[in-house]
C-alpha cells in the first residue's frame, strides 16, 4: 500500500509529514547557471552514484523517471502526489526523478538545487521522515563532495535554504481552528515565529478542505534537531488547540454539525458530477465527522485518504487512462467517489 493511503500517528489532525533536504555538487555551478554539457554530466554523476548505493538495490524497488519523456498530465499527476515540485512542471526545469516503490522516498535531480531528497510519511512522524531522507543524503555525501562552507554549511542556490538545506513540513487538517476563526490569529503568530503557512497545494494556494501546510523557513543558525524539535513542539500545540476547537464546535451545535456531515455524505454518495474543490471540501466534512464519532458506519480513514489522493484532475485521468475534458472529469470524479464510499471498505469497517 502506498504510504499516503496508510494511517499514521495523529492522523486525525496531521495528514502527512514531509522532510526535504537540498544538496549541491561542489564542483558544478548551481542548476540556474549550468550549460547543457554540465547538466548532463551532473545528472549522470548523481544517478550513477545513487545506483552504486546498497540502498538502491534491488533496482526494481526504484523508478527512474526522465521528465522530458513525460507528458503534461503525467507530470501533473506526480505533482498532485507532491513528488514533483511546481517548478519542475515548467519546461526545462528538473531532469530526473528517482522514486521508491512506496513513493515515500524520492530525489529530484537538477531542480533549483542539484539534489533534493524528499521523504514523506503518513500522519505526524518527523523523526521517521528525517531518518529516511538523511539516510539517502548521507550515503550520497559519502561519495560526492557537496558544496559546503564552514561558515554557511551546505550551500544552496537560494540563501533561504542554505545551512542545513532542511525543510520540514506538515499537512494539517484544522477544521476546528478554521471554523472557530482562530486560524487567522495562529497564522499571524506562526509567520512571526519563522514558519511558512500555506494552503494545501503550496505557495499561494487557497485553503481547501481545512488543509494547511506549515514548514520551517529558517535553515541556517539552527541544527537539524532544533528545526525538527521546534516544529514538533509547534504541531503538538496546534493539535491540542485543534482538539479543543473541535469539542467547542460540537458543544456549540452538535446537531448542526451532524447535519452538515450527513448532507456532505449524501452529496458525495449520490452526485453525478462534482468539481475538485467541492469534493475536497465535502470529503473534509466526512473526515471531521469521522474524527468526532458523528459518522462511522461504512466509512474509513483509508477510504478518505485514497480519495484525497485520486480525485485530482491529473490522477483521475491516469486512473481513467485517457485525457478528459472538464465535464468528463467531474463525472469520473463523482463515479470514483460513489464507488469508493460504497465499496469494500464500507463492509470491513
Amino acid at each position: 500500500m502506498a504510504w499516503y493511503i496508510e494511517n499514521g500517528p495523529k492522523q486525525e489532525t496531521v495528514l502527512s509529514t514531509r522532510v526535504r533536504i537540498a544538496r549541491n555538487l561542489q564542483e558544478m555551478p548551481f542548476p540556474n547557471r549550468m550549460n547543457p554539457v554540465q547538466e548532463s554530466e551532473a545528472e549522470k554523476l548523481i544517478e550513477n552514484t545513487f545506483l552504486s548505493l546498497d540502498m538502491s538495490k534491488p533496482r526494481t524497488n526504484w523508478s527512474i523517471v526522465r521528465l522530458e519523456e513525460l507528458g503534461k498530465m503525467q507530470k501533473l499527476a506526480l505533482a498532485e502526489k507532491h513528488l514533483l515540485s511546481k517548478r519542475m512542471l515548467e519546461p526545462g526545469c528538473g531532469k530526473t526523478l528517482i522514486i521508491n516503490k512506496a513513493e515515500n522516498l524520492s530525489m529530484m535531480i537538477l531542480e533549483e538545487d542539484h539534489i533534493r531528497v524528499q521523504a514523506m510519511s503518513a500522519g505526524l512522524d518527523l523523526a521517521k521522515a528525517y531518518k529516511e531522507a538523511t539516510n539517502l543524503t548521507f550515503n550520497l555525501e559519502e561519495k560526492i563532495p557537496m558544496a559546503w562552507s564552514d561558515d554557511y554549511g551546505f550551500l544552496t542556490a537560494c540563501p533561504t535554504n542554505t545551512g542545513t538545506g532542511l525543510r520540514a513540513s506538515v499537512m494539517l487538517f484544522l477544521p476546528g481552528l478554521i471554523r472557530t476563526d482562530r486560524m487567522r490569529y495562529m497564522t499571524d503568530i506562526l509567520g512571526k515565529a519563522g514558519y511558512a503557512v500555506r494552503g494545501s497545494s503550496g505557495e499561494g494556494s487557497k485553503i481547501m478542505g481545512y488543509r494547511i501546510q506549515i514548514s520551517n523557513q529558517l535553515t541556517l543558525g539552527l541544527s537539524e534537531e532544533e528545526i525538527l524539535r521546534d516544529l514538533q513542539h509547534l504541531v503538538d500545540n496546534l493539535i491540542e488547540k485543534e482538539e479543543e476547537s473541535r469539542i467547542k464546535l460540537l458543544q456549540a451545535d452538535k446537531l448542526g454539525l451532524e447535519d452538515k456531515v450527513f448532507r456532505s455524505r449524501g452529496i458525495l454518495e449520490n452526485a453525478r458530477r462534482i468539481s475538485y474543490e467541492e469534493a475536497v471540501n465535502l470529503l473534509a466534512d466526512l473526515r471531521l465527522g469521522l474524527s468526532l464519532g458523528l459518522i462511522s458506519e461504512g466509512l474509513s480513514l483509508v477510504s478518505l485518504n485514497r480519495l484525497d489522493t485520486n480525485i485530482g484532475n491529473a490522477s483521475l485521468q491516469q486512473i481513467c487512462g485517457k485525457a478528459l475534458i472538464d465535464c468528463e472529469l467531474d463525472e469520473s470524479r463523482a463515479r470514483l467517489i460513489r464507488e469508493e464510499l460504497k465499496g469494500p471498505d464500507r463492509r470491513t469497517r
Partner: protein, 197 residues
C-alpha cells in the same frame, strides 16, 4: 587589496569621493585612479555615454557611474556589476532571481549576502550537520518525540521578546524595501536601531 573598480589589479591608491556631504573611500589601482581623475576633470570620451552633455563638474560624480552603489543605511559600497569569477553570476542577477550561481558566489558576494542572511535566517553561521558525518538520527528521534507541553501562546510571548521582535522587524523591513514602501521602511529602521541600542 583588490581595486574596487576593476576587481582585478591590486589597489595602491586611496581616493575619497565626496558628494552632497557623503564621503566614500575607494581603493583603486593606478589605472582606474587615473581614469577617475580624468573624469573629474576633462571628461574623456570613454565615459561620455554616462554623462549628460551639460555635465558641469565633478560634483555630479556618483558611485553608480562606476558600477558602485552607496547604501546610505548600511554605509556600504555596493558593487552592483561585480560578477562571480567562477560562474559569471552578477549580484544584480541574484537580486532579480533570488538565486546564486555557484558555491563561489557565497564568497564573491559575501558582504551583501551576509546582510541578506541576517534578514532571512536565524543566524549567519551554520551549526548543524557537517558533510561526511552521519547525522545522529537516533538522538534526534528522541528529541523530536520528547513532547514539550508549552502552550502555543508561548510562541506569541517569544515573538514579543526583544531578540525575536528584532528579527520580526528586520523581516518586515526587508518586505517593505521589496515593496518599495520606503516610508514604512524608514519607520522600521528607526525601531530596529532603537532596539539594537
Amino acid at each position: 587589496m583588490i581595486c574596487d573598480q576593476c576587481n582585478v589589479n591590486d589597489a595602491s591608491i586611496q581616493m575619497r569621493l565626496t558628494r552632497n556631504g557623503e564621503t566614500i573611500d575607494l581603493n583603486l589601482c593606478p589605472t582606474c585612479a587615473a581614469k577617475m581623475q580624468t573624469v573629474g576633470g576633462a571628461l574623456p570620451s570613454l565615459f561620455d555615454s554616462f554623462f549628460s552633455p551639460s555635465w558641469p563638474s565633478s560634483d555630479h560624480l556618483t558611485p553608480a557611474m562606476f558600477g558602485l552603489d552607496f547604501d546610505r543605511e548600511q554605509g556600504q559600497l555596493h558593487r552592483q556589476t561585480k560578477a562571480c569569477p567562477v560562474c559569471g553570476q552578477r549580484y544584480e542577477d541574484f537580486r532579480k532571481t533570488g538565486l546564486l550561481g555557484c558555491a563561489a558566489c557565497y564568497e564573491t558576494f559575501k558582504p551583501w549576502l551576509e546582510q541578506v542572511l541576517k534578514r532571512v535566517q536565524r543566524d549567519t553561521r551554520h551549526i548543524g550537520h557537517r558533510p561526511g558525518l552521519a547525522a545522529n538520527t537516533e538522538s534526534s528521534s528522541e528529541d523530536v518525540n520528547n513532547k514539550n507541553q508549552k502552550d502555543i501562546e508561548g510562541i506569541s510571548a517569544k515573538a514579543a521578546e526583544p531578540k525575536d521582535k528584532l528579527s520580526v522587524l528586520k523581516m518586515e523591513l526587508s518586505q517593505a524595501v521589496e515593496a518599495e514602501d520606503y516610508h514604512r521602511a524608514a519607520q522600521l529602521r528607526d525601531q530596529i536601531q532603537g532596539l539594537e541600542a
